[in-house]
Structure formats: structure tokens, C-alpha cells
Symmetry: C2
Subunit: 783 residues, 2 copies
Amino acid sequence: LKDTSGERFFPSLLRVCVCVCLGSNYAMSNGGGGAGASSSTHLLDLLEEPIPGVGTYDDFHTIDWVREKCKDRERHRKINSKKKESAWEFTKSLYDAWSGWLVVTLTGLASGALAGVIDIAADWLNDLKEGVCLSAMWFNHEQCCWDSNETTFAERDKCPQWKTWAELILGQAEGPGSYIMNYFMFTFWALSFAFLAVSLVKVFAPYACGSGIPEVILNITYTEKTLSQTGFTSYFTMNVIFGLGKEGPLVHVACCCGNIFSYLFPKYSKNEAKKREVLSAASAAGVSVAFGAPIGGVLFSLEEVSYYFPLKTLWRSFFAALVAAFVLRSINPFGNSRLVLFYVEYHTPWYLFELFPFILLGVFGGLWGAFFIRANIAWCRRRKSTRFGKYPVLEVITVAAITAIVAFPNPYTRQNTSELIKELFTDCGPLESSQLCQYRSQMNGSQAYPAGSDAAAAPGVYSAMWQLSLALVFKIIMTIFTFGLKVPSGLFIPSMAIGAIAGRIVGIAVEQLAYYHHDWFLFREWCEVGADCITPGLYAMVGAAACLGGVTRMTVSLVVIVFELTGGLEYIVPLMAAVMTSKWVGDAFGREGIYEAHIRLNGYPFLDAKEEFTHTTLAREVMRPRGNDPPLAVLTQDDMTLAELQSIISQTSCNGFPVIVSKESQRLVGFALRRDITIAIENARRKQEGIMLNSRVYFTQHAPTLPADSPRPLKLRSILDMSPFTVTDHTPMEIVVDIFRKLGLRQCLVTHNGRLLGIITKKDILRHMAQMANQDPESIMFN
Amino acid sequence: LKDTSGERFFPSLLRVCVCVCLGSNYAMSNGGGGAGASSSTHLLDLLEEPIPGVGTYDDFHTIDWVREKCKDRERHRKINSKKKESAWEFTKSLYDAWSGWLVVTLTGLASGALAGVIDIAADWLNDLKEGVCLSAMWFNHEQCCWDSNETTFAERDKCPQWKTWAELILGQAEGPGSYIMNYFMFTFWALSFAFLAVSLVKVFAPYACGSGIPEVILNITYTEKTLSQTGFTSYFTMNVIFGLGKEGPLVHVACCCGNIFSYLFPKYSKNEAKKREVLSAASAAGVSVAFGAPIGGVLFSLEEVSYYFPLKTLWRSFFAALVAAFVLRSINPFGNSRLVLFYVEYHTPWYLFELFPFILLGVFGGLWGAFFIRANIAWCRRRKSTRFGKYPVLEVITVAAITAIVAFPNPYTRQNTSELIKELFTDCGPLESSQLCQYRSQMNGSQAYPAGSDAAAAPGVYSAMWQLSLALVFKIIMTIFTFGLKVPSGLFIPSMAIGAIAGRIVGIAVEQLAYYHHDWFLFREWCEVGADCITPGLYAMVGAAACLGGVTRMTVSLVVIVFELTGGLEYIVPLMAAVMTSKWVGDAFGREGIYEAHIRLNGYPFLDAKEEFTHTTLAREVMRPRGNDPPLAVLTQDDMTLAELQSIISQTSCNGFPVIVSKESQRLVGFALRRDITIAIENARRKQEGIMLNSRVYFTQHAPTLPADSPRPLKLRSILDMSPFTVTDHTPMEIVVDIFRKLGLRQCLVTHNGRLLGIITKKDILRHMAQMANQDPESIMFN
């Protein structure tokens, strides 16, 4: 080993250094180092060929957005400059220009088609719990009775072809024996589906558990394997057991399609930042088909998923959502040639005094959201930290068994959750056979229902109210325990169900109040006697939106989704009022939505764009090294040997090293990533002769003057990022956090009067924020 | 004058320097310097009291977003820390926390109320062109005939109380004489309104011309004077003459309200960045009330106006839009207790083959948009550059006269444009008296219109087609010349009218095609004979959206606005297809929308977020000084005298100066603004004794060691921004542009290995981009 003058004075400095972790511990334990190539710097080194392997990422790594964007723009320029050379190159450039639209079109087509298939399959599987169609096994209940001669609405669900399990096995439809038989078969099928689902997840897609939306929000680097397996298993488990929603799995399936199709296009397969654009569009398509709400899907993608590129991906997300919705409409899984899941039309306007119960529903939604997030996170933390989490299959089976056993006796929990929501949303008409619509006017056989009707509730309504209250308690408890199980699940449908139940109860209460006290000053002004001025279905809709808002803390996209869902254009003001109230009430108990809470629970390094940094810290208080820390591991630009470089790399676990002019001046030149250095050294050893341990390593444009007998030096300028982000030590942390968020940085160097002082990484910021919130910074695990 | 050793070598360097213009020439010619205070740096100088005047802006200045945000956060912290001191402080902090919601609520309330008043007044003024209500002068035509006994639909517009001008003056309703009389009065009133409008604008609000949306997009610093005057004059001129839209003026009025109310709250009145948040919410409220489209308004604000804070203002914009829409609904100016301007219901679904004409309409919209933008900008440039622009009143009167004279004979141009759009959107029913609905079935007196009708067109439809074609040509020509006149005007309504006319023509053509060729393979499959399978009104709606998309290049917000406008939830796919096509076709001819084009025409320094920077330039090629330029004017941290500092300031017109350690090292310390230095010096002269011309000026924490006989030194650290943004000279310009856009910077310093090299300002970037696009960089004027 040959000591150069500069290094002789700093041996300890180089040995013990602060670890600068840019990626995640997960990746580091895998032996993978940092990532991200600085292609922009290649511009200056056109003579040197790029080193293979530089500029790729490991799984579950965060992305250096700035570099990835530069890479893409350079690729784009290369293609553009070649364009005029030949017809083939021109075709290639055209293909490249259109590949963005192609990939979102394909994603939209595939998501729409898969959503249609999933909807039909889920319907069939759900009806299988109750019975089977004798004439054709593959028909669901509705299709089975399609040709039935029974035209009475009350009897339309009964047709000779459709047999409940009791009829099939015991040969009788009524009586306690057949009830028990149906009960048993219901539980049996629920357990079978649960077992099938959790086994599939365990075998094929270990990451497919939960809703998957937190992962999509994070834009974590998935392998295609994870995503495609999620797609497969989602197919089997969705919406069938537990009455869980389908938006999570469908967003996942859409992202899976997006990921697969992006492999067809070099523009997207080789650039992680560009792939995120596709995933963002795919998640819009996913929400679009989950609810038949294309605009809501785009807004969801904007509000929750698109972190770095709001406007840019808007158009493509829009297009993907459109294509997916269009395909789904062509498949027509709901048989009503409508896009939307719940189509409702109300016939009466709403009145000003109704804002009070609507806001009350908003308060309920906010309280429910805050309670659900706390309870669910507490339960998930227990699952994560105790031995209990080691038996996911057993847990799923247990929950499924309890759900099935408790759910069956109550008609409102027995039925499919989507159907329940639909029933709750629907306004009572003369043809409605539901128990909820047993008003006295209907009992009297009056057909002219709304006008001049007798809106006093009949016994049917009262018993429905009781059953709904029980269903509400049941749903609240079960949702807490089921969201986060190791099966793909969504949160929208159960949350909406809870809100819809609460809303319908409030709606009926207000209706009866208005009927019996129609001379109150409130009602007297708005409700004529005998007229139908309260719509309980509208209350259900408002309640559903409020509960969803409380849980997810979305506002705009949520209102748009609900309003597309129901076609209730006139009722946007009540919806907005309830959703805003629910957000405010929820925020009073904690600002995080359920997705952010799960992100934090899972320890992903995520800088939430919605939370403001309000402390007065300066960059120098957050940067490392701090106080008693050993100094930062740095490289000098032209006076280190290969052996010294390798010893620094081997003795530290840092993911990247700042390069400075000299130890004396400490002036910053650039930044080199550990992974790139390792790859470059190996590459040089293999290809260049004369590279020895005492070879000089230099990052400058020209080789330094060396003694005559020294071995061939190694030039590493091509892997040097010559435009690292820097801030001064006096920069307030609020600005630093802003820069990290808006530019998507992974690290930032800190200087004082032009001299390098330290480094700040995303994790340093997260640790600092935890410390400021009086949490133990070490409790935040990054896995 | 005492020369210090450092400066002796660089006399010429300090004398002639590169001008670093941070603001605009407009402000500079006014003698105003730079702006923006670095409150964050005050943290370190708590002992020094803030200097009054530091941190304010001149009119029409761009804002330093980062500094403004820091200022606000510091203010917030101050209030928070005092909170627990007394009940009064606690109340103040509560008031502060809620002031954001209060100001948007007030803005929403005021915008909604003003919009209602404007709608009613505009209706009345519009009907005044045709006649007057004898029983009550202040009634418009519809209100006048409210109590009329005529119940036939064809006759409902004729009632004895309402007199046309001919009836009133000549005493006869029919005949050529009365026609000429009506013609004359129509022209007379149009001219009077035009004269009134342009005079009001000229006297009260010189900046209220045009739509005002470009200015709102730019977030230019308005004085409240400009805005409130705009509000007043908008009231008088809107929607009455020229058939121009009201969205521009209403957005302006809403921003005016937002601006006025923000003066009530110190949080907003003293911080330009926070005020932009209010303006952003206000523009959402403006669009919301202009069309009754609250969600569309929010999206408009997001897509066009909110440049730096997409998510943060989303909720408040949403709330403002909600409140405004709610107020407008309570005022109920359209008398149908609906929020929306054009409420349509269609009864037939659309079929797949109809996508072809829809896409054709999209192409038309795109072509129209591209043509309109080019023609309108060419005309506005001519107005700006020739003598012709000096007579705005004459121009307005001329255009008004031509419009009135040409418009009267054609019933489709005579009527209010909003009414025309409504008529074109509406589906034909048996009760429709319009010429457009004279199908043979109606002629035969068949009342069961849609089912089994005879959809062959009768002569009425053919003559309507001719009149519509003429109206289309007329509208196209007039819109080009009227948008940009010195009266407040919008673009949405005329664009939609053009699209609706074209769409209705195409729709009727397809309908007749389907009727006469119902055995074609296309129609055979979808249209049953005698059934009504084409809805011409839907084509009008799609055409309107396509034309609007072509002109503004909005996609998502536009579809949402149209779809809220019409309540046509089912028709979102045709709308999306047409709008996307129109955007693509328009983009093929030039990527700018009309607002961006007007921004460029007016020479505002605006970095468009939608346009990508695709060149390979590095920062050192764009920064100044370049090649042969004289060196940059810099200050040193502790070896200049006051006289030297003043001579630098007086000899340069730069708006700010980098501060370095010393001339030798060139290491960067910070950045000081010209305006702040001037204010600080004046302040020191007034308040501190012993400050003389040879006083040493220093920016360091501690005063430098000085000879015993030297006068008292002047400490300027409090005005020094110690966290200036820096990039290295090797940074690709695409990254620099990204930083400027996302962080809202005004300038950025360029370093090489820790030494200061130069500076890049927003205008340098804009000049460079012009150069890259082969335009003369000097042709871009910033005024």
C-alpha cells in the first residue's frame, strides 16, 4: 500500500465513518448497495462506454427521481437525433413516441376485461354460498331466474331452477332443518373460500396481502412477479368472503397489468420513474373499474398515488380510466348497461334543514374513521409484533368462521355487501319488495306511492331498523379485524356499508319525525302534509361518503367517486358538507388516513406530502455527522489509491460517498454511489490491464501527474454525479423537506461557505421528524 | 475612500457588471428593486429587530415562493408559542388557525351572491335589447310572462305585458316597419352597452380587459384596486354584448372577493404566497358559479391555476366552490332550482358506431382550437404593435356594431348565446316548439314523439340547418376578433356555442342518414326501424366539449365541467373520446392553449409546467456571465466599505448580489437583495450613529478586526439570505428548469467545486428556451 500525502493524516477518518444509508435496510441486508446512475454526466464522457449494471435498482428500493428523469430525456434525445437516418429509425421513434399511449391503452383494456371477469366470477361464487342453479351450474341466481315466469316482484327471486342447498340436499325449502342446512352450507363455503384464498396468497403472492394501496402510493419497486401473482390470487378471493371491497385488489390487478405491459416498451421497462407513470395511470384505471367512476379514478390517482407528477400523468390516467370503463361497460357485468355499481335516482330535492342530519352523519363518519384507524393499527401492530402473526392461515380461517356464523342469521349481513349498499341507497317505490319499504301506505295496497302516501312506518320497517343496528355493530367490529388480514381486500365497500346503514337509520328517523311532527316550524315550511319530503336513501348515500371520508381522508376524489357511483348530481352539496365534516372531525383525532397509517406501520420510508413540517430546525442539526459522530466518509478527487478506495468501501456500509477536491479544502466535486464504484472497479479489473492495488483512482477529467514507476491509473469520472443537490447548513429544514418531497431526492449534501459539511438522507429526515414528535427515532424501522 | 487589499485588484470588476434582473422590467422602470425577505435568516439574529419595508413586493412582480412560505411558517410558530400565555393569545391563535377556512367561506359566499346578481342582471339587460315589460320594468321576458294565461307552448313567449320595441314605438308587432324598428333598437342597445362597458373599463379598471384568466394563472401580484374595479365593471358588461362567456369575469370577480377578504386576515394580507392560495380557491369558486360545476371548478383551479400547491389548496378550493354553488342555488337565478346552466336529460343510450362521428367532432374541435389560437394571437399582436391598438373604445364600438347588425337577422345569432347552447343541447320532444324539432312526425300531429316516430326531417329542420351553418361561420369570425377586446370577456360560452352548432349539424346529418339508410350494416344492428336511436342534442354536447378542449387544452377539468353542466353521466365516454381527440389534434399544431398563448403575448415571465425542456444544455451555458460578458457583480463578506457597496448598487441595475467569502476563494456565503440593502442602509443612517462612507460593511456574525481609527462598521447579516439555492455548473438544464418550476424560485446560483461561477434567473431560462426554439431571445419582452 502506498500512502499519498493527503491521506496520511486522516487514516482514522477513513476507517470509521458514518453510515449513509440511501436505500433501505432490506436491500442492504441482501448485499445490494445503492442505485441510480447519473446518465447526465455521461454527456461529458462520450468516449467512454457505459458500464453494464450501473443504474439499476434492487427490489423495494426508493427511486432517485431526478436521475431517472434525466436518463429518460437523454434516451429520448438519442432516438430523436437518429430519427432522420433511416425509415427504420423513424418507425422506432414513432413507436417510442406512441408507446406511452399504447401502454396505458393496453393497461386500460386489460384492467377493464379482468374487472368484468372478476365481477361475474365473484357474483357466481357469492351466490354459491346460498344455492346452485340446476339448469346450468355456471349461472348465478339472477341469470338462473332470468327466464322464470314469475313476474311478481316479490316472487322474482324464486324460480324452480334455482335450488338452495337445503332444497337440494334435504328436499325441503322451509322449516328449521333446512334453515340449519343453509346455515351450515353458508359457513362451509365461506370457510372453503377463505382457505383457498389464504393458501393461494401464501403460495403465490406473499406481498398481496392487505389492500395493496399503500404499496401503490409508495411507488415501491415491485418485481413483476409480485404484481402478477397478486392479480391471480385477487381473482379468487375478492369480494366473496368477509364482504370486503374490491377496490384494493382491482387497483392491484390494474397495476399488475401496467407493470406487465410496460415490459413491452423499452421506454418504460428500463426506467423506474417512467414505470411509475404507468402505475399511476393503472391505479386510476383500477378505481375506475372498481366503481365505474372514471373521473373519480383519475382524482384518486391524483390525490393519493401520483406523488411527483400531478399534471403530467393526468391525461394518461384519464385515458386509461376511460378505456377501462369503456371495456367494462361493454362486458356489462351488472346487466343494466350502466358503468356504475349503484345507480340511484331520487325524485325529491333536499331541503336546507336536512343539512343538520347530514353534518351529523359527517361527524359519525369522522368518529368512525378515527376509531377504525386506531383500532385497526393497534390490531395490526399486535399481529406484527406478537407470535400471533405467525399463523396467518389460522387467523383467516377463524375470522371467516366467526363472520359466517354471526352473519347468516341477519339478512342484512348475510347478503353481499354491494347488494346491501344498493338496497340501502335505493329510494322506496311502490314496486320495492324490501322490508325497508313496508310503510303503511304500501300495506294498504296503495300503488300511487310517493304522492299523498301514508309514510308512517309499518312493523317491517321497525324490525329492519333493529336488524340494521345489529348489522352496523357487526360490520364495525369485523371490519377492524379483517382489514389487514393476509388476503387481498379493499376498504371502500365495508366502510360505505357502515355509513350507509347508519345513514339509512338516521334517514328513517328523520322521515318518521317529519311525518309525526309535520307542524314543527322546521318541517312546516318545507314538507307539505302527505307529501314525501325526506329520502332515506339519500341519507344512506351521504353516510357512506362520510364514513369513507373519515377512513381515507380523501375529499375531492371521494365526492366525485360517490357522485359518479350514484349519478346523484343534485346532491353534491350534502355530500360535500358531510365529507368535509368527517374529514375535520377525523383530523381532530389524528391527521393520518388509513393508507398513511399502514405505510408507517410497515416502516416504508415515506415523506407524506400532506403533513407539514413545522419546526425551526436548520439543516446542520439534522445532517450527519452530528456532534460526537465520527466524520463523514469522503473520497478525494485525485489522490487515492485503489486499495484505499476499497478499504473505505469495505469498512463502511454507506450507500454513497461525496467526492471532494482535497482533504484540506473540503470543496465538493460530486457524489459517487457505492454500487456504481463496485461495479466500475470490477469492470476495470476485467477489461483494463495494469490496474493494481496501488493504482491511483481519479475522478477528474485528466489524469494527475504521477511518478514514472506508478501503475496505470483508474479513471472513474463516468460514474461520478457532478450535479449533486446541495443546501447550506443554514437552510431551514422546512425548505429541505420541501425539496426532498417536490424533487423526489434520496440524499442531499450540506455545505458551509462552499465546504462540504455533511449529508442528509430521506431517513435522516424521517428520524428527525419522529424525534420532533417526541417518538423514539429508533422505533421507526425501515424494512 | 479607503481601498481594502481585496478590492484594489478588481476595480473594473465592480464597476461594469452583468445585470441580474430578478423581477420584471416593468417594476425596474418604476424604480422598484427586488423583493422578498429572508425571514428564516432572522432566526439567527433574534437580537436585531426587523427592518421595516423588507419583504414586500411591487405590483406585477413574481414571488419568491420559498421565502414567503418560510415567512408564514415562522409567523405560525410565533403564534403557536404564545398560545398558552393568555386567553387573548389563545383566541388569536384560534382565529389564525380558522382564518383560512373563514376567508374561503367568505369568498365563496360573496362570489355566489355576486354571481346570482350578475346572472339576473345580465338576463334583464339581454332582454332589454328586444323589448320591455310594461307591468314592471325590472322584469325580464320570462318573469314578465310568468302569470300569462297562454299555456300553449308555442305561444308561451307571447304575453300582452311584454312589448317589443316595435310594438311600443310603432304600435304594431308585425310587418317590415316593425322589423326594422326592432333591428334598430337591438343595434342601439348593443352599441350603448358596448360603449358603457368599454368606458367603465377605461375609467375604472385598465387591467380588466380580456378574460383575466391568464393573469390569475400567473398569480401576478395584483393590487386590490385592480381586482375590485374589475369586479364592478364585469357586473355591467358581462354576457350582454357579443355573446361572450361569463367564466372569465366571474373568475375575476371571485378573485377580487378573495383578495378583498384576505385583507381581513393578517395571515393572508401580509404574505403573497398565502394570498395565492386564497386566489386559487377563489378561481375554483368562480368557475363553480359560472357553470354551476363545483367539482369542475376545483379541477380547473388545479389544472390551470394552482401552480405550486396542488394538494394543499385542493380542500379549500373544494370548500369555496361548494359554498359558492350553494349560495347560487339558493338565489336560484335560472328558476329551476338546479345548480347547472344547461340541464339536459337524454333518453336513449349511445351506440358504439357513434364513436366515429364523436371523434370527427373531436377533430373539428382540435382544428378550431388551433386555428382560433393562431388567428386570435395574430390579431392581438397586430393590436399591440400597430397604431390601431390605441383606439380601444372605437374598436369595441365597431365590433359591437358589426355584431349587432349581422347578428339580428339570424334567429340563432340574435338570441342569447347561453340560450342557443341550451336549445342545441336539448333533445327533441313532443312539446318542443323549436324549428330544430320540426320532424315529419310532429308535423303530422303525432304526440307520441320518440316511439315509432317518423324521424324524417321537415322543412323547418332544413332551414334551421342553413341558419345554423351561417351562425357557425359568423360565430367563428366574431369570436376571433372579440376575445382580447378591452372588455371583460370569457371564452367558454362562445367556444361551446361553436361546438354545439357543429355538433347539432353533424347529429342531424347522422340521424337522417340512419333514417333513410336504416338497412346499412352499421345502423341495422343498432337501430330498429322507427325507433329513435340518434340523439342530435348529445352531438351538440360532445361538439361543445371538443371545441372547448381544442381552445383551452384542458382535458379532465373540461369533461367534468361539461358533465356537471349537463348532468349527462352516461355520456362520459363519448365526451372523453372527443376531448382527447381534440387535444391531440390541437397539440399537433402547437402545444399552447389560449391562456398560455396570451401569457406569452403579454410577455409575462412564466415557466409553463406543461411544456417539457428537452435540450442537452448544462447550467454553465445558460448562466450569466457568459463568454465575453463582464464578470458578475458580487459583494464580499467583510472587506467592503459602505461607499464601495453604494457604488456597486448605483452602477448596476441588478436586483440582487451574491455574497462571497473573499475575491480569492470565491466561496459563496449567501445572497442579498438590492431592495433590502438599500432599505437597510437608509435605516442604519437614520438610526445608528457613526455610520460613514468609509464604514466597513460586513455580513459575518462577528465584526472583522479593524484599525483603531476606523468608523463604526455596519452589520448587514440580517438581510443576508444564508440559504441561497445553488446548482453546479454541470447540472443539466432540465434539472434546473424542474427546480425552478417545482420550488417557484426566482434565481439560482451556479458553483463549480464550491466556487461561485454565475447566476441563473427565470428570465435567463425563458430567453434560453426561446433561443433553443430558434426564436430571437430579444423578441421576448417582459413587461
